[in-house]
Amino acid sequence: MKKTFLMVMILALATSMAPAATADKWLHIKVDNTGDKTERVRVNIPLDLAEKILPAINRNNLHAGKVRLGEAKINDIDLRTVLDAIRTSKNNEFVTVDSDRAKVRVAKQGGYLVVKVTDEKHRQKEQKVDISIPFSVVEALLSGDKNELDLVGAIRALAAHGDTVLVTVTDGTSNVRIWVDSQNAAQ
């Protein structure tokens, strides 16, 4: 009896230590506009699905799960130059980039690439963009050639990271939220 009890205990302990199955991760996009045209958008995509479909799409600049960018510039800001500066900067040290249209502050904080954008041209609307991407995802995104973004690599890194809010955008009438979690519907 004692031996059986011991065997059962060992089995129970071994079973409880077995790694839990990796839960599916979902990308959620939530848009709420309350301006002149009220609009509500909800998109839910399993990251697993995105990871498998992207390499199968070969159109325009998207090939084998990678996007080729001409000069990797967004709003006249050279993306790679900014990210290289962040990569070598200290934690919580912001790099500020001013363009004609917006003030962009970028920093590394607690393992995240943090981007805060203030739209300078529309002060009355006070548009704010907060982007917070795990640095492991950024590294994966930039792991390919100089002028391409590895979307599949980024999705894998995102799925491995855990639940996180990626983007929030707020202005007077709009709220946008993009996040990853294990729920199969937007909460």
Binding site: K37, T38, R40, V41, V43, D48, K52, I53, A56, N184
Partner: protein, 128 residues
Amino acid sequence: MGAAVYNAGAVQVRVDEKKLDGAHIHLALPASVVNVGLKFAPDYQLRHASKEVQPWVPAIKIATEELAKYPYLSLVEVDDTTDHVRIFKHGDKLVIDVDTPEETVHVSVPLSTILSAVKKIEAAGPGV
């Protein structure tokens, strides 16, 4: 039970116009009808469709295989002041529901039918 079996493999299309004396179209076609219908489509139209769909076939195949893993999946919901759109996967079907002031539209297609149709259109391409 016969009705349940029939509906399980059927492509369902419902269009209801909301105006007075509006049209009401309700179709429930066995999935096999879609494949038979493709056989009767003119060759030039099938070749054109094949050319358009070719770049997307690998992605569609993967999408239908992956979507089959989820018993229910809400993909897209869009609502504004007048229009409402839902795209979701329910059971083995991809469902699209649209509600506008003018009409409601419901389309429900088994994923297997989508895959089968895409393969047939792909096969109709030039040189095949």
